[in-house]
Structures are given as structure tokens and as C-alpha cells.
């Protein structure tokens, strides 16, 4: 029997393109990018900021706030909505195994995170190139980082920023598995993220929470854009390890719960 993940993923994309929520997410982050552009345009000029720095600032702000919420909402509705409306029964009564269904949902969440990240990058970069310039990073003493080096670090920051976002998607889907109503799942996901975020410093668990790393890669890249010394290591290993541990644990826990559950009404 063939694997059903691709047909399931095609179904997910077909459904997502016919609902308003994903488009709303794209619209919100685009508006946020424009607002950031207006604010930075009125306070900063080409002397203090280049297009790299602007794009970096924009990406960081988008994904530590509104982008995070949009992604959390989307991912925490993925399974809860199917459970609440009973459509999960119809899907699982066809030749679809539970792990295939769950994996397709995870891939859908990751795909949406990537789409949000790409859209945000395109909008930010387009707006950035309007007021500022992409190019070598230099000061009055001369060249600090060549355009090529900056670009390589930019790509690195962009792709590394997906890793903690993947943890966020896994967290949303995990909550979506244990909470059977979509509205409640969204509330629990966002509520717990903010609760942990506000208390993580107080209880000293800051370095063990994946949300801490959502803006990390852009923070490092910002140092590149400003022409100061930058160091990916060793913090980047912490970010990768911590995020992957969250991904693995949340995926395994969510799949185990989903596979063992009775789906009856």
C-alpha cells in the first residue's frame, strides 16, 4: 500500500487555500512589515542602518510577536478542528494510518511557517531596499564584511530561524491533539506560550525554552549588519539542540496520544 502522506498534504493545501485564516496571517505580517518600515523610516536613516540591518530588524520583530501568534493559531487548529467537526472520522475511515495523518498535519504546519517566513522576508527586503542599500558593510575605516559574506550569513540566519519555528509548530499541534475544540486549543497554546515567556526568567528556565531562540539567528545577523564582531557558536548549538529536542519530544508525545485515542463522536 502506498504512503498516504502526499495525498493528505495535497488535501491540506487544498483546504488551507479555501479558508481565510492563512491569508489573514500573511496579511497581518505584511502590515506589520509596513508599520516597521514607516517607524524606522522616520527614526533611522541610511547612515545608521543598511538594508541588511533593516530586514533583520523587521524579521526579528515579526516573528517574536504577531508572526508567532499567527503561527500558533494556525498550528493549534490543525487537528482540533478536524476532531471538533468530526471530519477526522471520515479521513481515518479511509486507508490512512494515524501516523500518516499526524505527519501530514505537521508538514502542513511547517509549510505554513516557511511560507510566512518567506513572505515576511520578501516584504521586508523589498521595503528595505526602498530606503536603504544592500551591499558591503563598511565604516569610515573601510570594508568590514563583504557583500558576499553578509549574504551568506543572512541566508544562514534565515534558515536557522526556521528551527525554533518548527518547535512552535510542534507545540501548537501537540496542544491541538490534546484539546479537542479548536478555540480552546488556540487559547491554551497562546496562553501557555505567554505564561512561560513571562515567567521563564523568574524561575530560571530561560535557556530551556524554545521561544527564547525564535529571534536568536536574527540577533547574531544584526551584529554582522552593524559591522561588529559576531559569533554563531556556541549559542547556535544550544538553539539547534534545544529546538530539535522540543520538536522530537512534542512530535512523539502528540503522535502517541493521537494513535492511542478512541475517535468516537
Amino acid at each position: 500500500m502506498s504512503n498516504m502522506i502526499i495525498p493528505l498534504l495535497r488535501n491540506e493545501v487544498a483546504k488551507a487555500t479555501r479558508t481565510k485564516l492563512p491569508y489573514f496571517g500573511f496579511l497581518v505580517i505584511s502590515i506589520l512589515c509596513v508599520l516597521i518600515f514607516i517607524v524606522t523610516g522616520s527614526t533611522l536613516d541610511g547612515e545608521t542602518l543598511n538594508a541588511w540591518g533593516y530586514t533583520c530588524l523587521s524579521m526579528q520583530l515579526v516573528f517574536t510577536d504577531i508572526g508567532l501568534i499567527c503561527l500558533a493559531v494556525f498550528s493549534s487548529m490543525l487537528i482540533a478542528e478536524e476532531t471538533a467537526f468530526g471530519t477526522v472520522r471520515a479521513v481515518l475511515s479511509s486507508p490512512v494510518l494515524r501516523w500518516e495523518f499526524y505527519t501530514a498535519k505537521v508538514l502542513t504546519g511547517l509549510l505554513y511557517a516557511a511560507a510566512m517566513s518567506i513572505i515576511s522576508l520578501i516584504v521586508s527586503a523589498c521595503l528595505g531596499s526602498w530606503n536603504f542599500e544592500f551591499g558591503d558593510v563598511a565604516d569610515s575605516m573601510g570594508l568590514i564584511y563583504s557583500n558576499k559574506e553578509v549574504f551568506v550569513n543572512f541566508l544562514l540566519a534565515f534558515f536557522l530561524s526556521w528551527i525554533p519555528l518548527a518547535s512552535l509548530v510542534m507545540y501548537g499541534i501537540f496542544i491541538s491533539t490534546i484539546v479537542r475544540r479548536s478555540g480552546q486549543a488556540v487559547a491554551v497554546t497562546i496562553g501557555t506560550i505567554y505564561l512561560i515567556d513571562f515567567t521563564k526568567h523568574i524561575v530560571g528556565i530561560d535557556s530551556y525554552i524554545f521561544t527564547r531562540y525564535i529571534g536568536f539567528s536574527w540577533q547574531v545577523f544584526n551584529q554582522v549588519a552593524q559591522g561588529v564582531d559576531y559569533h554563531w557558536r556556541p549559542q547556535v548549538w544550544n538553539m539547534i539542540a534545544m529546538s530539535l529536542v522540543y520538536c522530537f519530544v512534542l512530535f512523539a508525545a502528540g503522535l502517541t496520544i493521537f494513535s492511542r485515542r478512541d475517535i468516537n463522536g
Partner: protein, 307 residues
């Protein structure tokens, strides 16, 4: 117990929710090419059993086989023969009927555009195929649910109260359609219901379940036979003298129901005997039928009065 032509075989199936036994050592076999009824009052364990056949609910014990394939160890092979509609069918309400069928068809694997078109025609939704399902009536949703179950040409249909909430005409339409599919295409249908007449009129065999275990099974005509001793009589002319009639040996009780229908309870006699007696007395009988059992009466008759 297993026979080679079993479409669905449940063997010693159990399901417990804590201390509650929803399904209790249930064994039954639905033969290929028959329309079998699964009868029981609300809460008898029908839906739980049907959920287990699609692996939506994990059994506590026992085995389920579909055309000889174990549902738990060989799920994909087993389920591709099955079309299921358990309880109220659910859809992506923001999508059209056609899109819903396309999505489900993609998961079934062997469904073409033409199959979807034919299916929509068969269930009478061609004209509304592009409307969002959220605008459909309950009956239309039931029909779409049936259409979804029929996707991919299944050999076995497992339906949980498919006519629930439908008007009598729609009910008759659906059940006649299923009966036709059984007769012409060799489809096997396992249909649960709490309505006695549905099973009585359309099914070949019936399995009766109560408190999670099978209490009776066999041919519909044998199991669901109407009351042998209660007869409903209407008269064309002058109604009979009940005072005189009750004195006749063999007549136990007479009750006049609304519409001048006489409910006559017989003692060790049958409807043919009563017909002869009334003719002998010169009464013009316009109709004489044995009274059908209600579900409650039926259950009381086979459980010996124990609920």
C-alpha cells in the same frame, strides 16, 4: 464459525470504558452479498462496534476481519473494501460537495472525476454540487455521507443509522437504493438501526444487540415476526358486537382504537382463524393485519421481559 464468504467477521469483540462494558464478547458474521441489520436500542453498543470496524475505537479484546483481512494487522488492505458512515456524517462545511468527494477520493486512491460525477448524480446532488456543504439540509448531508461511503466502489458498506433525521420518502429512497446495490452489484451492507421496520423491510438477516452482547440473530422473517396473537381489524360495514364476540372461545381481549380499528387479542389462535370467524358471523372485513411489534415489545419478547 468463520466461513469463506464472510464480508465482516467479529470474533469475541470487547470494549470497555472503565467499568462500563460497551461491547461484551460480541461475535457475528455478515455474509458477502447480503444486507444485514444491526438492531438495538440507544446505548446498546451498535455505534461502538461500528467504530471498531474502522479502527476508530480500539477494542479491549477480540478480532475483526473484513473479507478475511484483519483490521488491526492489515488495516489498509482491509479498509479499502469498506465504505463507512458512522453516526452523523461530517464534512468540510466550507467546501462544496464535489470538493469534499474529491478530497476523500484522493485518499481512496482509485476514484476518478467520472466516479465523483456519477456519485453526485446517484445521490441526487448534481445540481447543488458546487454549493458549500454548510448550506445543505440535514437530508442532503446524509445523502452526501452515503455518497462518500460509496466512493472507490467498496464491497462492504458499514452504515450507522444512515436515515437518521430523514423524511420517510428520503428514507425509502436510500434503503431501496442500497437494496438494489446488494441485488445487482453484490454489495454487502451492514446497517445499524433502532427502527424495527427499517430492518424488517430491507434486510435479509438481523443481529440484535443489547447491553453490548448479541441477544439474537437470524433471518429477519424469523426474528422479527409480527405478533402472532394480536390482530388489527377494520370493518367495511356495521362494526361487530364486541360483547358477543368476546364470548367466543379463542378471543381474549378486544380494544377499539382510534379510527374504528379493532385490536383483537387471540388465545392460541391465528389471524386466518379470526378472518374465518368474522366471515361466518357475516361481518364485512375491509382489512385484517397482524400487529407489528414495537422495538420495546420486541426486546421484551426476546429478553423475557428483562430490560
Amino acid at each position: 464459525m468463520s466461513t469463506s464468504n464472510a464480508a465482516l467477521r467479529l470474533d469475541d469483540l470487547c470494549k470497555s470504558y472503565g467499568r462500563i462494558r460497551a461491547v461484551d464478547h460480541l461475535s457475528l458474521e455478515v455474509r458477502a452479498g447480503e444486507m444485514a441489520g444491526f438492531l438495538g436500542p440507544n446505548g446498546a453498543g451498535k455505534s461502538t462496534t461500528l467504530y471498531m470496524t474502522s479502527r476508530l475505537v480500539h477494542p479491549t479484546g477480540g478480532e475483526i476481519e473484513i473479507f478475511g483481512r484483519n483490521v488491526w494487522s492489515d488495516f489498509k488492505s482491509a479498509i479499502r473494501y469498506v465504505g463507512t458512515m458512522v453516526e452523523t456524517p461530517s464534512f468540510y462545511e466550507y467546501l462544496s460537495a464535489r470538493k469534499n468527494l474529491e478530497l476523500m477520493g484522493r485518499l481512496r486512491g482509485n476514484v476518478t472525476e467520472r466516479d465523483i460525477r456519477d456519485n453526485l448524480e446517484r445521490i441526487g446532488l448534481s445540481e447543488r454540487q458546487d454549493d458549500k456543504v454548510s448550506t445543505y439540509s440535514h437530508g442532503m448531508k446524509q445523502r452526501l455521507g452515503l455518497g462518500m461511503a460509496l466512493l472507490g466502489r467498496p464491497r462492504l458498506l458499514v452504515l450507522d443509522e444512515p436515515t437518521n433525521g430523514m423524511d420517510p420518502e428520503g428514507t425509502r429512497e436510500i434503503l431501496s437504493f442500497l437494496q438494489e446495490k446488494v441485488r445487482d452489484d453484490g454489495l454487502t451492507v451492514f446497517i445499524s438501526s433502532h427502527l424495527l421496520y427499517e430492518v424488517e423491510e430491507y434486510c435479509d438477516r438481523v443481529f440484535v444487540i443489547n447491553h453490548g452482547h448479541l441477544i439474537s440473530s437470524g433471518k429477519v422473517k424469523e426474528i422479527l415476526a409480527p405478533h402472532e396473537n394480536v390482530v388489527l381489524v377494520s370493518f367495511g360495514g356495521k362494526p361487530p358486537d364486541t360483547e358477543a364476540l368476546i364470548k367466543e372461545e379463542g378471543i381474549e381481549h378486544i380494544e377499539i382504537l382510534p379510527g374504528e380499528v379493532f385490536e383483537i387479542t387471540l388465545a392460541n389462535r391465528d389471524a386466518a382463524w379470526l378472518n374465518g370467524l368474522l366471515l361466518k358471523w357475516g361481518y364485512k372485513v375491509s382489512s385484517l393485519i397482524s400487529k407489528r411489534k414495537t422495538l420495546k415489545e420486541f426486546f421484551l419478547s426476546i429478553t423475557g421481559g428483562k430490560e
